[in-house]
């Protein structure tokens, strides 16, 4: 079976500091991978998706970037965090076959102070 992991679970960072959130998937090869942000009281916003190693599509201009250094690893980064980067970050995966269902990780709560 497939599992998806995210870490850390919770992170408190000062404004202007760097960020690195990691997501890994087990039990599948060449998945599509996604990063979402969920701001307090709001819905989900797709930030990035990737269909393969080194292939990243950005959905919204922002202070964040994503990388996929390995097949089942997806990293969300920032060089300098803003207060507005606070939120709940969710990683998800889907089958590469075009199946639309996405399966979500447990999330990372980020608080920027």
């Amino acid at each position: 079976s497939q599992t998806i992991h995210q870490w850390p679970a919770t992170l408190v960072q000062p404004v202007g500091s760097p960020l690195s959130l990691e997501c890994t998937v087990e039990g599948t090869s060449n998945p599509n991978l996604y990063w979402y942000r969920q701001a307090a009281g709001r819905g989900l916003q797709l930030l990035f998706y990737s269909v393969g190693i080194g292939q990243i599509s950005s959905e919204v201009p922002q202070n964040l970037s994503a990388s996929r250094p390995q097949d089942r690893q997806f990293i969300l980064s920032s060089k300098k965090l803003l207060l507005s980067d606070s939120g709940f970050y969710l990683c998800a995966w889907s089958w590469a076959s075009g199946e639309e269902t996405q399966y979500f990780g447990p999330g990372t709560r980020l608080l920027v102070l």
Partner: protein, 114 residues
């Protein structure tokens, strides 16, 4: 353009009574439709999915949803609420412009009273 509207931001029911969470969608084609549940500080869990097969879809934990094309609705129901059902529920529609994108509703928070 595709969109999804969850008609209630909050729904409150008593334990043991039926649950109805309403969702309407707008789509120029036959979409795939999903319901996800999110417990506090957790990720989203897939409850069920409609993909143009049977219009009544059964999901996990006793939930089901009925696709009604004439009403462009995909309401989520459960005959008897349990305390553990208290969570936020998202209705989601596929985006025909990309198999990689889902369009999320704004969510309905379900409160279950003892």
């Amino acid at each position: 353009a595709q969109s999804v509207t969850q008609l209630d931001s909050h729904v409150s029911v008593s334990e043991g009574t039926p649950v109805l969470l309403r969702c309407n969608y707008s789509s120029s084609y036959s979409p795939s439709l999903f319901w996800y549940v999110q417990h506090p500080n957790k990720g989203l869990q897939l409850l069920l999915k409609y993909t143009s097969a049977a219009t009544l879809v059964k999901g996990i934990n006793g939930f089901e949803a009925e696709f009604k094309k004439s009403e462009t609705s995909f309401h989520l129901t459960k005959p008897s609420a349990h305390m553990s059902d208290a969570a936020e529920y998202f209705c989601v529609v596929s985006d025909p412009s990309s198999s990689y994108k889902l369009i999320f509703g704004s969510g309905t928070r379900l409160l279950v009273r003892p």
